[in-house]
């Protein structure tokens, strides 16, 4: 009972902190920071794009660590953490691609310019997709968890090489690179707060998602023991 109360308390504080930070971030992005000269109002998308990108990589790092821990210890808790992190990472990566595309269209007139960072995120998106599908398509659940963990490890090790290859490619054939240019003090502050806000959001989603998974599992087990008792 004590630990439940404590958990609820820390969860509420995390949620509260996230809410406040996100609110502050919104204020900074839409009211405080001045409109950028060359790129106009649309540039504000930058303050969402960068934190989302940052967190999609953090999410993958978490998948990597939890995958290793799952394979070593076979405790389902690590599998739950990994899968939840992968779902959030996939969502964030999708948003990175969408915001990047919108930005590219308005700033450069083309929807997709094979920008190195966006292209790397695209490949990451596909690796996330493979991760999510393999656990859905495996013939048994325990196999699926193990396969997903292997993808988590292989995929994470692969991302730096993917980035290297794509950067090499685009240096030889340069195209427009988005989001370059110096940042003023105000812009830097806004960006930092946004990164903090989205990171907190990631952790909230991670904790909530994982405990939701665990509860869903428990319900399934309870249902099963009721069925067997009949």
């Amino acid at each position: 009972m004590q630990s439940l109360k404590r958990n609820a308390l820390s969860m509420s504080s995390l949620l509260g902190l996230t809410f406040v930070t996100m609110l502050a971030a919104q204020l900074l992005v839409f009211i405080y920071v001045p409109t950028e000269e060359t790129m106009g109002v649309v540039q504000r998308i930058f303050y969402f794009h960068v934190p989302l990108a940052w967190n999609s990589f953090i999410a993958f790092a978490v998948v990597f660590v939890c995958s290793i821990l799952y394979l070593r210890r076979r405790d389902m808790k690590w599998d739950r953490l990994a899968r939840t992190s992968a779902e959030i990472g996939f969502l964030f990566a999708s948003l990175v691609l969408i915001t990047g595309t919108i930005w590219s269209k308005t700033a450069w007139g083309t929807w997709w310019a094979w920008d190195p960072r966006l292209t790397t995120t695209l490949i990451l998106w596909f690796i996330y997709l493979a991760y999510l599908l393999i656990s859905a398509y495996a013939t048994e659940e325990s196999r699926g968890a193990r396969y997903a963990a292997v993808i988590g490890i292989i995929g994470f090790l692969d991302v730096p090489i993917v980035a290297l290859a794509i950067i090499l490619w685009r240096t030889q054939h340069p195209g427009p690179i988005i989001f370059e240019g110096g940042l003023t003090g105000a812009m830097l502050l806004t960006l930092m707060v946004c990164i903090l806000a989205f990171t907190l959001l990631y952790f909230c989603l991670l904790v909530q998602g994982t405990s939701l998974r665990r509860d869903r599992n428990e319900v399934k087990m309870l249902k099963r023991s009721i069925d067997e008792g009949k």
Binding site: R74, M76, E140, E141, S142, A145, K220, R224
Partner: protein, 244 residues
Amino acid sequence: MNGVDIQADGYAIEVKRLIKSYGEHHALRGIDLSVKWGDILAIFGPNGAGKTTLLKVLATLVKPSAGDVSVAGFNLKQDAIMIRRRIGVVTHQTLLYDDLSAYENLRFYGKMYDVSNLRDRINHLVAQVGLESRIHDPVRTLSRGMQQRLAIARALIHDPPVLLLDEPGTGLDQHASAMFATILNSAANKQRAVLMTSHSLEQGAALSSRVAIMADGKIAYEGSKQLDIGNLREVYYQCTGVKD
């Protein structure tokens, strides 16, 4: 002979509190079992009782979730490779490569098992299963019965002291059954131990020296074969709720 150090007084198979769960599905819920050298144990049980899972754990194909398992004196967790050297497994799949000949299949497995004097051993085994005339024909050209006999030869290539047989009664032709009987007889000489799962109470009971009945991931009954077949059926029904 590919001799193996057998401790005649030890247990061939020893299982303590074995648990295997696949997520929330508990296939084995705490198995305690011991098989002595010279024993031929037949395990009966309906589908889903966990017989095949138990066999797979002993064959080092499946890792236990909890519990202690030792086979031929070696601990499963630490010395799985040593166990694999000392077990021969026969399942309903033949584990043979269709495009290779009987000779080539046996040679492949023989090399993987470090069998010495491989050529002589292959010729000896092929003669035992009665396939000398077809030894160089691709496996896909052999009849099902012949393939099964070859599968038995494959399982014995390294002369393992422990045999694990998954429902061996099904589909055996008379040659294979004869081969079988020879194997089981050698077990009686305390040089081997055999564990087999079986669907048919009659066949299994006839061939074994001890029986066990599994239901729902646990061993519901275990004993030496003093019950006759009628009583065995009765016990089986009591344990599993299923008529044989």
